[in-house]
């Protein structure tokens, strides 16, 4: 009995000490704050409580007992949003059993201990969109996550964020029957031409449309596709060449689909059509394709100023790592986008608020505003400078990299 009493008092004491700790306030004193949503603030203060920004601006009193992060000579910007990130999953990203797999969820395969995740945090990325791979025409549902938490559920900030569709020739790769051999493997049934890819996409949505009005859709694949048709889920389309982009636009017009283009290497050729339809694009990965300058895999010309031309035409442009683990970090991508002709404010938006808007999480991340998540990157200088380094990354109010 006495032991219980002692234990109880001890517990009460502990909780008494812990409780004020929970409501702890962090204050960041910053030399320059790039809020993205408004004008930059010089010599400002950001107050953080419970992982949210409670106050931001100049002349804010720092409450007593607040943990102060001194960034007097530093530049502070919101955590970067990667709208096409390397997937922090175990195992393959491509389901080989079928080409149309809308019901697959990448959120089922998330691995919070992934190496890719730990690396990407150190480059200043605090929100990322992860999607299935590039081998299926309709790959499955992507998810918006934060690189934090010990269990996958804690990482997710928006599940079913988009349906991944691949309109490039990637789904046809390796699908031909080797000469002189019998078609023993079911992979060989997969599409072999661009025509077949477009046909399969069109057919899927046709089937879904037939059933949209019925009360209960039995096929789960069609259920997902019909909610896409109702504009509940946007489509994340992988397309590099203008021909693939135009083909997708045509199918989208037929069914009234809500699109987001990803990779979009030849987007500059169709900039006006994209602007007209208000379709956002997520560019990346960024490579100078080796060999001859300006050539890439599918043999067409690239334009270095793709991002600038698209933004100029009025398209919402986000820059991403393109899901390539070895690709350059997004800040460098933005720096080079500016070098090649993009406006520097646009470039900063293209790695923060615009991808957040595209992914539908702009109410939580993408800019430094009162009430938003405290995802903050502290830099040694101007973000669009090669010699600037990421010094500290704060995620949900906690320092995750220093």
């Amino acid at each position: 009995m006495r032991i219980y009493v002692i234990l109880l008092t001890f517990l009460m004491l502990v909780s008494a000490f812990v409780a004020p700790g929970r409501a702890e306030i962090t204050a960041i004193k910053a030399g320059k704050i790039l809020t993205i949503s408004g004008e930059p603030i010089t010599d400002g203060v950001i107050l953080i409580e419970d992982g949210k920004i409670t106050e931001i601006g100049t002349g804010i009193d720092i409450p007593e007992g607040a943990a102060v992060v001194d960034a007097d000579k530093k530049v502070v910007m919101p955590g970067i949003v990667d709208a096409s990130a390397p997937a922090p999953v175990r195992g393959d990203l491509n389901e080989q059993s079928n080409e149309i797999t809308p019901t697959l969820r990448i959120s089922d395969a998330l691995d919070p201990q992934s190496k890719a995740l730990k690396r990407i945090v150190q480059t200043g990325v605090t929100t990322l969109f992860v999607s299935p791979g590039r081998q299926n025409i309709i790959g499955g549902l992507g998810v918006v996550v934060k690189p934090t938490g010990k269990v996958p559920q804690h990482m997710v900030i928006k599940d079913e964020a988009a349906l991944t569709i691949v309109m490039d020739m990637d789904p046809t790769q390796g699908n031909r029957i080797p000469r002189g051999q019998p078609p023993v493997n079911f992979y060989f049934r997969r599409p072999g031409t661009r025509m077949a890819i477009i046909w399969m996409l069109r057919k899927s949505f046709f089937d879904a449309q037939q059933q949209t009005d019925s009360e209960q859709i039995e096929d789960p694949n069609l259920a997902i596709l019909s909610s896409v048709l109702k504009d509940e889920i946007p489509i994340h389309v992988n397309a590099r060449r203008a021909i693939a982009i135009r083909a997708t636009l045509k199918v989208a017009d037929e069914y009234g689909l809500k699109l987001i283009f990803q990779e979009c290497t030849e987007g500059y050729k169709v900039a006006e059509q994209l602007a007209e339809r208000k379709i956002p694009v997520v560019l990346g990965p960024f490579y100078y394709y080796p060999g001859s300058m300006g050539q890439y895999r599918e043999g067409r010309k690239v334009n270095w100023n793709n991002a600038g031309i698209l933004a100029e035409a009025g398209v919402k442009v986000a820059l991403s790592s393109g899901g390539q683990p070895g690709a350059i970090d997004i800040l460098t991508a933005a720096t080079f986008a500016v070098r090649h002709g993009m406006d520097s404010d646009e470039a900063l938006k293209a790695i923060t608020i615009i991808p957040a808007e595209i992914l539908g999480v702009a109410d939580r991340v993408g800019s430094l505003e009162k009430g938003k998540d405290a995802d903050i990157v502290i830099l040694s200088g101007d973000p669009l400078n090669v010699t600037t380094r990421v010094e500290k990354v704060i995620l949900n109010g906690k320092t995750v990299y220093q």
Binding site: G294, W304, N385, V386
Partner: protein, 425 residues
């Protein structure tokens, strides 16, 4: 008769016209003066509002208070930064094929394989590289000799700066051989070479004793290896793993070779040994690698140039054409500066040091009196991503101008309006 003289006259006129038009296309000026708002000399301190005097393609004077002679043609570079052209101490790009199939081919030369039309050279000039040592690839044990070229000219002969420089030795086993077999093959080659040289010397002394004429020349297939032993050539030893580094140092010591180490990123683990050997180093184009810390299970970023810089190793950067950033030497230097390298030292690693490693520092690598007038005109600071190479001067001649770079324009400007076909359905 009359018509004949007429034809002669016309043809003479034509010849004169063509000759003069060629002359005008490339005006060769004897005396030049470059006026720049900032000169990064590399050799000394930066000069603000300085002048560089050039005569016959050679720098005659550099300074802030240099008087411009009345007969000098003035090249204005106001609001521009002038600095020496970048030098790359090792590359295998721009070759028809990098590697010979056989492992022991020290007698072949990249001179025979350089493809002047390769866009690699055009890109290099655009990116500010003015000299590079093109060596065979990393797949052959004794790969052949290298060639120093400038990325300008339509033939290899026109591009040539120095032929027969550097010999590639790769310690990465090729094909199915093991590292044991690879090293054994190297040792056997060296033993046979030394036996051959002894025999050769014996035959020579025998002939002298018998007072017979001796006209036997050294076997051509062995000549370059003999020159390597005589320090006429520098060995560029490629180490694929940290474990190859001690072997490279052993080879250098045993045979007393002039050596430059060409390192893969993994070799940073042997940085202590490399620092102790005091050998110059060419770093891989990949400057940052990630490793998992076994104890904390955290991912750690390894910045290769900083590891070597802290250990006091002198190194040069190289590029690769695939990735944003890595294709530029200035970006490589800027990456090192980002993680704490001194700016001056980083700039030397893309100019003076590589020039020293390949033995052209008497001509290139800095802006000094007596050196070749080879320099870049930049629109801003070299380590700033927003600066561009505006003009490149090689030996007093402007060989690249951004304003006339049609290919670059195509890569940055929106395409011409294409009429969209109307949808018929």
């Amino acid at each position: 008769m009359k018509s004949r003289s007429h034809i002669t006259f016309v043809s003479i006129l034509l010849i004169v016209f063509i000759a003069s038009s060629i002359g005008y296309a490339a005006p060769v000026r004897k005396k030049l003066a470059v006026q720049a708002s900032r000169i990064i000399t590399i050799a000394g301190k930066d000069i603000k509002n300085g002048v560089i005097l050039i005569e016959d393609g050679t720098i005659k004077a550099v300074g802030a208070d240099v008087e411009i002679p009345w007969d000098a043609f003035v090249i204005e570079a106001k609001n521009q930064v002038v600095m020496p052209g970048f030098v790359m101490a090792h590359t295998s790009s721009g070759l028809d094929r990098e590697n010979e199939n056989m492992p022991e081919v020290p007698f072949i030369s990249t001179f025979d394989s350089i493809d002047p039309i390769s866009t690699f050279f055009e890109d290099s000039l655009r990116d500010g590289i003015v000299a590079m040592l093109v060596l065979p690839g990393n797949n052959t044990l004794l790969g052949g000799t290298g060639t120093i070229v400038k990325p300008y000219g339509r033939t290899v002969e026109a591009m040539l700066i120095k032929r027969y420089t550097g010999l590639k030795i790769s310690l990465r086993p090729s094909g199915n051989t093991s590292r044991m077999g690879h090293m054994q093959r190297f040792r056997r080659y060296m033993t046979e070479l030394k036996d051959y040289l002894e025999d050769y010397q014996q035959r020579k002394t025998d002939a002298e004793e018998e007072k017979k004429p001796f006209d036997e020349e050294i076997d051509v297939t062995k000549q370059s290896m003999v020159d390597l032993l005589n320090k006429k050539l520098t060995a560029f030893i490629y180490c694929d793993r940290a474990a190859d580094v001690p072997k490279a140092i052993e080879i250098q010591k045993t045979h007393g070779l002039n050596t430059v180490l060409v390192l893969s990123p993994d070799c940073y683990k042997a940085v202590g040994l490399i620092a102790k050997s005091k050998l110059p180093v060419v770093l891989d184009s990949q400057l940052i690698i990630w490793e998992t810390n076994e104890q904390t299970n955290e991912e750690e970023m390894k910045v290769i140039p900083m590891i070597f810089h802290r250990a006091g190793v002198k190194f040069a950067f190289q590029t690769d054409a695939s990735q944003y950033g890595r294709r530029y030497l200035w970006y490589q230097a800027a990456t090192a500066v980002k993680y704490g390298m001194k700016r001056n030292e980083a700039l030397k690693s893309i100019t003076l040091y590589p020039a020293q490693f390949i033995g052209v520092d008497n001509r290139l690598g800095s802006i000094e009196t007596g050196k070749e007038a080879t320099m870049l005109f930049l629109t801003g600071d070299p380590l700033d991503a927003q600066s561009w190479v505006d003009r490149v001067m090689i030996a007093g001649e402007i060989v690249y101008e951004r304003a006339k770079d049609e290919r670059l324009k195509k890569l940055l400007e929106p395409p011409l309006e294409i009429q969209q076909p109307e949808d018929t359905d």
